[in-house]
């Protein structure tokens, strides 16, 4: 069991875990630890809060409800946003309870930190690729405890030794006598038994469900339209609003002229808060039409002239003159003799663009408040609603929902906060739905980064010294200020940079904090710290290999000799991709990246082609993954596939830019998404591993960037150190631009236009 478990206020405090341990856990994890909390697994937690499954006969802990009718409801502490968390959690419980996955009904957990906090996060939250990592013990213990009690109840009824009983699909059987009884029939009796002090989880050799590619528990309703997402809910008497917040971040609402809006059929009301306006309609269309008919005057505030150019100017300046906070120091990087290389990387702000736009239904009453929304942080939603309404937290109920994507966006409760601020002005339940444009303009953006990285190579081409200075704003500092280290370090900023998979004799990793102006909010984004650092590191390793005149994969292999798990995925990917075999056409290249984010080990190889005009086409990709025990290999594969595409989409197309303090991107026409016809052939190979499960949901995204950029370098000889890919920099000479463009080019040749 996790060391921090059950001692939320002790070891769980961020100052307590050793620095090394904190780094291993990752920034997002550390972000939450300061909050304390922790779920109860053994010991009856039911009485402590509302339970989701009515009045079950047997509820040995916060997760399991067995009805007298034999129904089994499992309450899911980690939310489902597509990453397969419900299936994973249910599998672990079902495994230990000897149930079939099909026998289980999964339920969203209510907001309740005491019962449903993620012990790795110390908060009721889903993120940081932690679900399976913590559930691996928590859920299995919970399941094993329930099974023990149920079997004990049956054994007591039959007056036999529980050890002589077996269970299959929820039916307890006394082998010797052949007697059987269902869980439901002994549920009441089991509820009377004392919770065991200690339970034994199954031996892996006995796993019937874990490690099998079982069907997901949440998909049936997603293929016939019956499953409702937050945006789909309709509650009686509800009205629908859409919102517009001041387009300039940090700006304020001055005045609204609604005379034209009132003419729109279905118009209901205009609501105002300090920095935003909502239009309420009988339906979304009325609200949206009326919104467009509003004449709004904004005070654009102090950032009216802020731009991304300014942002990067400031970051560069801070990188040069700011005060670095040490992240890792080994040996002494100064004065090392050899071939010196240095590079600067610059990474943009990013939006999440979950396909389901932000939304919430809020009903504020004098005596309480109901919130229907899909959130990664239900308890935080209660906090903000309590603060805004003055209602007691116990009277605020969050009805969590399935999410049309999270990617970190729904770790921020600002849309709920905004919806509460509007809803408290009306008596009816108010459903607030953001337009896509609003969703992109008012995201919590992944921070921009400015990295200076340098290395000195010895005669053998291997790094003798490694210096990495990261400059960025801090998500952690606003999200969980208490989680910042005493020296001001944000562990997320250096995650995967301070703990390299490679060993170098002299290492200096440091961070300079430079926050953007107030009102420009930063947020966690799929891959959090590692998605930034691994890109920079694995690109730079490629630069070093090139400088050392070595094959980039062989170079890494050399450097990973003391890291067997990393080495194994590298070799597996190389083999499957046929690295070094066969010759590639002109302007086609392969790139490799290897890393160990979120407790898993991955190597990804991408084969890309670059047209004469600089268009990048992914031809093929191979991923090798060691994530420890793959609870559901099918989910692991899906997450790697999806995570890679998520990362490539950004590498190819995305970056939030600001002009006059306003986001320049609006919708999928200018915040572009990869499509099926751009998707390469994609293989995922899992290493059969007995190690404790690592995280998986964000790992593909982390790997996508460097593998692709290294492939682009191999294809063109051009090293790009920023994204989205600057295709102008990849043009094959001015002639290409004068050619009539019809082809993306399959073989790197310019093709003349055909009639």
């Amino acid at each position: 069991m996790n060391a921090r478990f059950g001692d939320p206020l002790g070891e769980g405090r961020p100052d307590n875990p050793s620095r090394r341990e904190a780094l291993k856990l990752g920034g997002l994890v550390v972000a939450f630890l300061w909050l304390g909390g922790g779920a109860k697994v053994l010991g009856r937690a039911v009485a402590q809060g509302p339970v989701a499954a009515g009045d079950p006969a047997f509820a040995p802990n916060a997760f399991i409800r067995v009805g007298a009718d034999g129904s089994v409801h499992l309450v899911m502490p980690s939310i489902e946003m597509g990453q397969g968390a419900y299936t994973g959690q249910a599998t672990l419980l079902a495994e230990e309870m000897d149930l079939g996955l099909d026998q289980i009904v999964v339920e969203h957990a209510p907001a309740n930190r005491k019962l449903y906090a993620n012990p790795l996060l110390g908060e009721q939250a889903t993120g940081g690729s932690t679900t399976i990592r913590y559930c691996w013990t928590t859920m299995r213990q919970a399941g094993a405890a329930a099974r023990t009690l149920l079997v004990n109840a049956a054994a007591a009824k039959w007056k036999v030794d529980p050890a002589q009983c077996t269970v299959a699909r929820g039916v307890i059987r006394h082998e010797a006598s052949g007697r059987t009884v269902g869980y439901g029939e002994v549920a009441n009796a089991a509820a009377q038994l004392p919770v065991p002090e200690k339970v034994q989880e199954k031996d892996p050799s006995a796993f019937a469900l874990i490690g099998k590619p079982l069907r997901r528990v949440d998909t049936a309703g997603k293929v016939d339209g019956s499953l409702q997402f937050g945006i789909d809910l309709r509650v009686p008497d509800m009205k629908i609003a859409t919102v517009k917040a001041c387009p300039t971040f940090g700006g304020k609402l001055v005045a609204v002229d609604d005379s034209r809006a009132r003419q729109v059929p279905g118009f209901v009301a205009v609501l105002k808060i300090a920095d935003a306006v909502a239009v309420v309609g009988e339906h979304f269309w009325a609200a949206k039409q009326a919104m467009e008919a509003l004449d709004i005057t904004w005070d654009h505030g102090p950032n009216a002239h802020y731009s991304t150019e300014q942002l990067f100017k400031d970051l560069a300046e801070a990188s040069k003159n700011g005060t670095p906070i040490p992240g890792k120091a080994v040996g002494n990087v100064d004065g090392v003799k050899g071939k010196a290389l240095e590079a600067t990387y610059q990474l943009p702000l990013l939006a999440h663009a979950t396909l389901e736009p932000q939304n919430a239904i809020v009903h504020v009453r004098p005596d309480g408040c109901d919130i229907w929304t899909g959130t990664q942080v239900p308890a935080r939603c209660v906090d903000v609603a309590a603060k805004l309404t003055g209602l007691k937290p116990e009277t605020i109920v969050v009805h969590n929902q399935y999410m049309g994507g999270g990617f970190g966006r729904r770790l921020f409760e600002d849309p709920v906060e905004q919806a509460v601020a509007f809803a408290r002005q009306v008596s009816y339940p108010l459903k607030v739905v953001w337009t896509r444009e609003e969703d992109i303009a008012h995201d919590r953006f992944r921070p921009a980064y400015y990295d200076r990285i340098a290395a000195t190579l010895g005669d053998d081409g291997k790094p003798l010294a490694w210096t990495h200075r990261i400059t960025s704003g801090s998500v952690l500092a606003t999200f969980a200020p208490g989680a910042m280290a005493k020296n001001g370090m944000d562990s997320d900023a250096i995650e995967c940079a301070a703990d390299l998979p490679y060993e170098f004799p002299n290492v200096k990793v440091e961070w300079v904090r430079h926050d953007p102006p107030d009102g420009l909010h930063l947020g966690w984004w799929r891959g959090v710290g590692p998605v930034h650092n691994v890109f920079v590191i694995e690109s730079f390793i490629d630069e070093l290999a090139h400088a050392a005149n070595k094959d980039p994969l062989a170079y890494r292999r050399d450097l990973l000799q003391k890291n067997p798990r990393a080495l194994a995925v590298l070799n597996l990917a190389a083999e499957k991709a046929g690295w070094g075999k066969g010759s590639l056409p002109a302007r086609v290249g392969r790139g490799v990246a290897v890393a160990a984010p979120f407790g898993s080990y991955l190597c990804v190889i991408v084969e890309a082609e670059v047209s004469p005009q600089g268009e990048v086409k992914l031809r093929r990709a191979v991923a090798a993954v060691d994530c420890g025990v793959a609870v559901n290999p099918n989910t692991v594969e899906a997450q790697i596939q999806g995570g890679l595409i998520f990362g490539w989409t950004t590498a190819l197309y995305n970056g939030i830019t600001l002009k006059n303090g306003t986001v320049q991107q609006h919708n999928f026409n200018d915040y572009r998404m990869m499509r099926i016809n751009e998707t390469p052939a994609l293989e995922v190979h899992l290493v059969d591993s007995k190690e404790t499960p690592g995280g998986i949901g964000e790992t593909g995204t982390v790997m996508a960037f460097p593998a692709l950029f290294n492939a682009v370098f191999a294809a063109t000889g051009v090293r790009l150190r920023s994204y989205p890919i600057d295709r102008a920099a990849l043009v094959q000479g001015a002639e290409a631009l004068k050619a009539v463009v019809t082809q993306a080019s399959d073989h790197g040749q310019a093709q003349e236009g055909k009639v």
């Binding site: 597509g82 079982l214 949440d218 998909t219 016939d224 009988e282 269309w285 890679l644 999928f668 998404m673």
Partner: protein, 184 residues
């Protein structure tokens, strides 16, 4: 009053002529399986069928529907092809968050109804207008192929184990989805 034929049922709605069908379905009629993703015909989440052809309901004025039959994700399973597509989606385990999948299934069904055995290029033509932010494209392709060929397409997950005597048997063992019913 505008009269619509939705999933075989006649529905009268009192809405402005230029209101997109998407909002009529979602907010007036209450068929919320059809999703809102962009509102500008760029993501395909709102795809429904009009007389069997895939259209983006977010930009389709309700007045332009006329007497054409509207089919939504809630009704598509009534057709043989739609049902097969839904089943393939489950078999291949295409779905992640699921938000785009109503639209994907509608587009795929329209494709397969018109072109029962689409080539890769034809799949691209029909499916490229549907964005999946979770990146399920690889499996969408596999699922469409499963419907087209009637052959169970192996999900690609390959635990890296040593090959056994019969490659076919090994593949079957590794790749066929273990049905939950069989797990007891």
């Amino acid at each position: 009053m505008i009269v619509l034929n939705i999933n075989g049922e006649s529905r009268s709605v009192d809405v402005p002529d230029d209101m997109p069908l998407l909002w009529v379905l979602r907010d007036v009629i209450g068929l919320t399986g059809t999703k809102f993703g962009c509102g500008i015909a760029q993501c395909g989440a709102c795809t429904v069928h009009l007389d069997g052809a895939a259209v983006r309901s977010c930009v389709l004025p309700v007045s332009a529907v006329g007497s054409k039959a509207v089919t939504t994700i809630e009704g598509v399973g009534a057709s043989a092809v739609g049902k097969k597509v839904q089943q393939a989606w489950l078999d291949i385990e295409v779905v992640q968050c699921g938000y785009c999948q109503s639209g994907q299934i509608m587009s795929a069904t329209a494709l397969l109804a018109a072109t029962p055995e689409p080539s890769d290029a034809e799949i691209d033509v029909a499916m490229s207008g549907n964005i999946c932010r979770c990146g399920t494209y690889v499996r969408i392709r596999e699922a469409i192929k499963q419907v087209a060929t009637g052959q169970k397409v192996a999900p690609q997950t390959i635990p890296n184990v040593a090959p056994t005597a019969s490659p076919a048997a090994a593949a079957a063992a590794l790749l066929s989805f273990v049905r939950v019913e069989d797990m007891a």
